[in-house]
């Protein structure tokens, strides 16, 4: 029996540049980057130096506070640079690919391994960070036992890849092994959450050992936080883990083939991409082979991930650890004469305050302009329309801003992450930095609770 949950609240932003369902032949970038900044709250401790030879699976850095959590190189080659930012914050470890060598972690059937052995294997290989947790939306703590584990099988973010398309039907066995591995990490249920619409790929039908649920509705219906909220909400003191479905295959491969080989299908999207389509690429790969001669001219913003939650990268930057999407949109650094007074046929808005709302079918070339200045909270009742949870977004934000720990807890801080509030940030007429506020709140709770 599968559950169907229909959500109404939310918003599918009408942005141009969705990918065509074509898979470009596999790309092999020359450079790969692993970015500690992909992991909120991580204090990385470096264990390689420029010039070191590494293999796929060799640790590059680890979590200073939990040294067992290692972050490894996705390819074999040479470490060529370590980039640091302000206050020597570690930003990127870059590897130049050479050869195709893998650290061998040994093949084994996860069914025969005890839980701790499985954890050890995941930790050693660098696949552990693929497992994240609520509360706080951070890499899971290996010493916990979650009450449930969620496998997120679709994405509703703007221009997001169609998971029904990217799931590899030929790797049924990797998928099964991955599921077995993951479900052994919890004493509770393992949930597989799929899109209610579209054709479910063969291998996702009749998966044994998991509880299948379907969600329908506009973004953020595909966010794992929303799934957890509706299926098995996180209360104080409880922990839920979750993994993206593409990583389930990599985890399966780790046990079947004994290697760390985080290949995935990635959607290259956005209005400024000439041929938006899918690419097979390894995690951490440079986007250069995908975007070279494939983007329009002008001042562009490259994003690893989607326009709401992705991270800004350079034109030759690297695919983020958790990302299955690259987006390229125009920068919006222009002045607009009496911009707020124009009818706005080409201005997209969640509200109906622009002439564009007469053309509901249109999609827009959205840019990075703020479209206004930051203001105090004035308008109410808007955030609630895009958060399909029993949570009061504005009140929670205000509790965070006033650092009211009890109130944050009461209003559901344990259930949320910044990505669940990204649409609030998009629609906010006061231009509030809502995702930063939520992260601040999560960080504060982590500190208070530790």
């Amino acid at each position: 029996m599968s559950t169907l949950i229909k959500l109404k609240k939310g918003l599918d932003i009408k942005i141009a540049g969705s990918p065509e369902k074509i898979i470009h032949s596999e790309v092999h970038p020359a450079f790969y980057g692993v970015k500690p900044v992909d992991f909120p709250g991580l204090v990385p401790k470096l264990c390689v130096k420029p010039g070191n030879k590494v293999m796929a699976g060799t640790p590059l850095f680890f979590n200073k506070h939990r040294p067992e959590i290692k972050f490894t190189s996705p390819v074999s080659g040479t470490v060529i640079s370590v980039t640091r930012g302000e206050r020597r914050r570690l930003l990127e470890v870059v590897i130049e690919k050479a050869g195709d060598d893998y650290v061998s972690f040994g093949k084994s059937d996860p069914e025969t391994l005890i839980r701790n052995k499985i954890k050890e294997r995941l930790l050693e290989s660098g696949l552990w960070p693929a497992v994240r947790q609520r509360p706080y939306h951070i890499v899971a703590n290996p010493s916990d036992i979650p009450k449930a584990l969620f496998i997120s099988g679709f994405d509703t973010a703007p221009l997001a890849p169609d998971y029904n398309f990217i799931v590899d039907n030929s790797s049924a066995s990797l998928f099964r092994t991955g599921i077995t591995t993951l479900s052994s990490l919890t004493d509770g249920k393992t949930h597989l959450v799929l899109n209610a619409g579209g054709d479910t790929p063969e291998i996702l039908k009749n998966v044994s050992g998991v509880e299948v649920s379907h969600f329908s509705g506009p973004h953020p219906a595909g966010n794992v936080g929303i799934h957890i909220h509706h299926l098995d909400p996180v209360n104080k003191g409880e922990i839920v883990w979750y993994v993206n479905i593409q990583d389930v295959f990599s985890i399966g491969r780790l046990f079947e083939e004994g290697i760390y080989k985080p290949d995935r299908l990635v959607a290259l999207t956005g209005s400024e991409v000439i041929h938006p389509q899918y690419y097979k690429i390894r995690s951490g790969g440079s986007v250069t082979p995908m975007v070279r001669d494939n983007v329009k001219s002008g001042n562009l913003r490259y994003i690893s991930g989607n326009v709401l939650t992705g991270s800004r990268i350079e034109h030759d930057g690297y695919l983020g650890y958790y990302d299955s999407q690259i987006t390229v949109i125009p920068e919006g650094d222009y002045y607009e004469f009496f911009g707020w007074a124009k009818p706005g046929i080409n201005k997209y808005s969640f509200s109906k305050a622009f002439a564009s709302s007469f053309f509901p079918g249109k999609s827009y070339r959205l840019d990075t302009n703020f479209h206004g200045g930051e203001r105090a909270f004035v308008i109410t009742g808007q955030y609630e329309k895009v958060v399909p949870m029993d949570i009061y977004p504005m009140q929670l934000l205000k509790a965070i801003l006033s650092a009211d720990i009890d109130m944050m807890e009461n209003l559901g801080i344990y259930e949320v992450s910044e990505e669940d509030f990204a649409l609030c940030e998009f629609i906010c007429p006061s231009k509030t930095e809502i995702q930063s506020i939520v992260r601040k709140g999560l960080d504060l709770m982590m500190k208070e609770m530790s």
């Binding site: 932003i13 942005i15 703007p158 909400p233 209360n235 104080k236 913003r301 326009v307 709401l308 800004r312 949109i329 920068e331 919006g332 650094d333 002045y335 607009e336 004469f337 009496f338 911009g339 707020w340 997209y348 969640f350 509200s351 109906k352 305050a353 622009f354 564009s356 959205l366 840019d367 990075t368 302009n369 703020f370 479209h371 206004g372 200045g373 930051e374 203001r375 105090a376 909270f377 004035v378 308008i379 109410t380 009742g381 029993d390 949570i391 009061y392 009140q395 009461n410 209003l411 559901g412 910044e418 990204a422 940030e425 998009f426 629609i427 906010c428 007429p429 006061s430 995702q435 930063s436």
Partner: protein
Amino acid sequence: MDSLRKKIDKLKPHFVKGGRFEKLQSVFEGFESFMFVPKKVTFKGSHVRDSLDLKRTMIVVIIALIPALLFGAYNTGLQHFRSLGLETGVMQNFWFGFLRILPLIVVSYVVGLGIEFIAAQIRGHEINEGFLVTGMLIPLIVPVDIPLWMLALATAFAVIIGKEVFGGTGMNVLNPALTARAFLFFSYPGWMTGDKVWIEGMIRGQNIIDGFSGATPMALSAAYETDKLPSFMEMFIGTIPGSIGETSTIAILIGAIILIVTGIGSWKIMLSVLAGALGMGLFLNAIAVNPYMELPVYYHFVMGGFAFGTVFMATDPVTASQTETGKWIYGLLIGIFSIIFRVLNPAYPEGVMLAILLMNVFAPLIDYFVIQSNIKRRLRRAGVAINN
């Protein structure tokens, strides 16, 4: 536009900290961002932002106010010439009224924005757009003959005591425009009530023809002279004495439609105010012991400031309830109290203003209970989970 942009870029260095006119930084930025939407791009978080900002939001409200403003101008002329017993054309009425109203609008904006500019500079904030709407609301809810100095004083009081002391736009408890009206009402009742203040020229002892009365439907009703009320249609169209912008229900309805269609104004609040008033009105009809209580309930919707208050005042997002459930309760209570104040307390013929101000004060309490029920739901869920 390029040349203008270049001029602004050239002037800009004088207005930043350390520049010659650094004290005018907020004012400069205010005007700059008024003319040009800034070129600021997203830095962290969402890479794209909705086209809607507060300026746009406020401008939509002002557009929604325009029908009431235009009709107010026309009606000011109409009532004036009627009182003199003259038959005049539409344009003549409108033009006469427009010239009388313009100074009120100018004074309201100059005083209010002046204070906003100073407050923004002191706080080091950008100028907030909230007053764009307040500045238009204030002239629309006063009698046309209000002396300009009184209006200036009321505006200053509303902005300083009603808003800035609480932290500025977004932080105020009371609706600033209503605060201004309440200030006038209690400080200068002679200019805010009675039969003379609503018709241009009347209070200055201008000649009027015999038999003309400048009494508003509110005053007539409070005096139990409901038989003298203008027809429902007249009150619906708005060719009756009253505050400048509040007389025409039809013009206000057009504004309501604009607010609801654009999603800027809360239809929940408007509907629930209506429902509250309807319920209370019907109840009073049922137990009626005087002519005012007998007045058919739908008359209340077209009389006095009910329509204007419902559409433009009760829906102020800052001072209304902030939770969606709270908005229903808040609106219902405004409707109920409006009718109670009107009918059962003749000392204050206009009940809507006081009902909204009262509920402004209680809105945070309503929200508190709504939020508490959410918290209880969450705790109960946790309790169930632990017991399992």
